[in-house]
Symmetry: D2
Subunit: 302 residues, 4 copies
């Protein structure tokens, strides 16, 4: 491990090839394999009695046809889709308590859902279209060098990508449907920004009967007691820099009166709350541990 | 000059205090003074016969009451407002030919107007609300050190600011009204991103009777022959890195079919096309010179 | 605290004005006040029975005349200088066990001392001049916005500063003298690099009777058992990115045979091992706690 | 061209495969092919009557044995080595006037040579060892995505590489020998820093009979009239940010009295003065054009 990750120079763990026997003896298995690979190995792990916490998209979408449309492959374990519990504790905590298979939320869906769910649940969002503009650091694209993550391409540049065509759209719409009780179209614009970590979702929600103060009350009440969500005071906006390295989400609100639009902004570290940290939080929820176990380090302060 | 700007080490020009006598003999005066200072000095310069190219906001808004609302001061030269020509040649070229006083477009209004004007002029935009999410480099905030532009605050962080409350909103809405022939509300979310130069406006336009191909035709036709605007092929998106250091604007389009929304994205260098380069382009237009005079350097290629 | 440091949004601590009464009841006081302010308040705290862990330079230099030369002020508590123990546990651990007053090492001295001490102690360094070229992130300059830390000045630029005139030179030479048993001149070139955290010292040590393998043995033996120092395998070099956010120091070695020069490179996070982390490590050493108490978080992995 | 380099969206040039016939009709051919490829194609181009300006290392080293040692291949055109003129006009201008084959200086050798040549020519450098610590932006590593240039690896990190083993060492020592009239060993420490463009060489020169003022006089006299070299006033240091995008070199000096060491620092844009800009400057020198032809754009000012 230390060889591949020099930051862990003091770590004496080793990577080992996947071994069904070892996995069979585990209480919990974290699956961090690509989309399509997860649905191939999950069934045997579940049969062996493990709880499976899956990072991939394979068990997130409830409709196998939608999965096939966006991932270009038929689902290999459709029988497990219904059982899988979505891994975003702030939204799906109830189901996690006795889950065997958790489909952890993706990074964009995490930040976006946290930003829009309280407003949608409140019934004050009008119309059937929500615009979400998102900005993500480069490390979200993984460790493989590509032109996309090449320093000279990414540095000093903001670039939209997969606009109106990102695979996370159906996942977010599924959450929105659950919160609103009706279909809401997501118009989604992701952008690559020149930083390593961090993801910020800016949601533009057309509303009626809401102003900044009442919106703040709704959000504060919705997330009261959540160990990893801070709703900032009206007038303050979150920054990805403030959550870097932590499992926290910061939420800020603004209200555009003349456009009758609530703007809800959520910042997370996509490598923690948007990925591995969330997986640990989900495992804690499944195992009945305090959700903060192993996740208490705050963001480093500069 | 070289002392303050070491990059100009080979330059032997000197700064001199403003002198009404010198200015009186000039054919063109570029005013780069703060808001409220420009309207104090412009009248005398015009009386002395100079063409005034003003970088400030003082002569951009046609309604003095709107100016007073956003800039907290009564307008000092309301008689000049009507005469002032808006300095965004791609939108206001006709008026520039015989202008005496040019109110150069701000950085956000430049990128945003170029992104939305063709769609609004086409009559295909529906509803009365357009969401624009914008991302800007730190140098747009000027040379004075502030917490906002402090390295440790700005680096590795995306942060919204002045959401739904930015002074450029009425200026952009004025351009939108001109293009659409009716009032359109702008819901505007500006963000600070960790790079020095560059500005990207992502406009979400609800449309009817338009798809990606037809939208591209409209934009390509609208900007045909424009020396500084490139409409990228469908499927390509602009990056601020590609216009850095140049007076160029790059425009990209996407269409979200299920949300019936055209997404028009414009990238500029806010310090050139969004500021001094545009002022030179405007001066060229006023003086009858080719608009590209002094502005032909492309962006450096990396 | 959360108001000033949004990253600590979940923190409910408050800043309070310095109060001599409160401080008098403390077992340990961490002094994080500017140079010259520390020597004004330390005596009363010591009198009240507290252990004082001082971040400033006030008690680092053993010769008050050298202090006065570099800090332009006469020392206000010269009687405490001799008692003060230098706060770099890897070098001065013995003295820390029963210290009352600890003068924590500065950031450049920490990285530089760790890089040069084993070679100097080995007696293989020849000549009386060592070149150290150092590179530091911008956050080392503090939270006050200045032209030095202004984003547009610091970003995309490497800039030397205080070359051959940095206040840390006498502090480092004091450590070098202790290790070598003789005077060694430090030629020191600090540089500002465009990153928030991190400091890298590259030391060029003229040597005799040493090659890469034997040098590696000397360094590995010298730091064996050190909880925060990793001597990398020959052929590997440290990166500031690998220690960011942690109290760790990574050390790499190269040997230039034709120039008979050992190149020893040390990377730290200047805000942790070069500052507050080191203060905690020193306090642990004074109090008889494991030195890693409160400091076990590794660098975040990307 | 515009397809590969979106920054050149307005450019209507096309790339074409290398064609010996086309090349044969050219007055000047700029060779931008990898090491070992240049020596394969240069002879035919010269035979066809073209002036060849070569970016590669193939004709830089005067000793084919040294070439073979560092590039692991026997030289394919040793007969041309003697004729080739080194392409660093400030050092080798005399030979360029009637050159047929120019071996353009590499990026590190350019900045380093400009920093050390005046001191070495002056005869005031003592000893036989010069330490040069260099810092380079990521774009110097080319357009191919690699772990080295992967954003998450390069960002927020300073990392040494090829310490005491960089291929540019023999090239720089060749220039140093020419300037000093004797062998001088270069101890060379290159570092990767998180920025796209820019290269800074910090040279530590042990001297006798020199102080800051006299050193400044020597450097200012040596570069008097050079169109692309600025020797900064004593007390000022160069920054890579100030030469970004231009063909200029900025030089700063400091003197460490107690270590009797002159510190000479040179900043260039490695993609211009360290590469293509220098090639144009060399071609101008060969063709009898003003050396600044096509290179007059200053660095953009922020």
């Amino acid at each position: 491990v230390a060889d591949l990750y020099p930051a862990l120079a003091a770590c004496d763990l080793s990577f080992e090839p996947h071994d069904a026997g070892i996995a069979a003896g585990a209480d919990v298995v974290f699956l961090a394999v690509p989309h399509t690979a997860a649905m191939a190995v999950a069934p045997a792990l579940l049969d062996a009695g493990a709880v499976v916490i899956d990072h991939s998209a394979d068990f997130r979408l409830k409709d196998p046809a939608v999965y096939e449309k966006w991932y270009d492959v038929a689902h290999a374990a459709p029988g497990l889709i219904e059982e899988a519990v979505y891994g975003l504790p702030e939204v799906s905590r109830a189901g996690l308590a006795d889950a065997r298979l958790v489909a952890c939320a993706g990074c964009y869906p995490t930040a976006t859902s946290l930003a829009v769910v309280p407003a949608l649940e409140s019934g004050r969002v009008v119309g059937d279209r929500v615009v979400v503009d998102a900005k993500c650091g480069v490390a979200g694209a993984g460790r493989t060098p590509t032109p996309f993550s090449h320093y000279r391409n990414a540095n000093e540049a903001v670039t939209p990508y997969n606009v109106a065509a990102h695979r996370h759209v159906p996942e977010i719409e599924q959450v929105m449907r659950g919160a609103a009780g009706r279909d809401v179209q997501l118009v989604f614009g992701p952008h690559l920004v020149p930083m390593t970590r961090g993801l910020l979702s800016t949601a533009y929600l057309p509303v009626e009967g809401l102003d900044l103060e009442s919106a703040h009350e709704i959000y504060a009440a919705r997330y009261e007691g959540e160990p990893f969500v801070s709703v900032l005071e009206p007038g303050r906006m979150p920054s990805t820099g403030d959550v870097e390295g932590s499992n926290r989400a910061h939420l800020g609100l603004a209200y555009d009166e003349h456009g009758a639009t609530l703007i809800a902004v959520c910042a997370i570290d996509n490598l923690v709350k948007g990925s591995s940290g969330q997986a640990i939080q989900c495992a804690n929820a499944v195992l009945g541990l305090p959700e903060t176990t192993g996740l208490e380090a705050p963001a480093p302060v500069v």
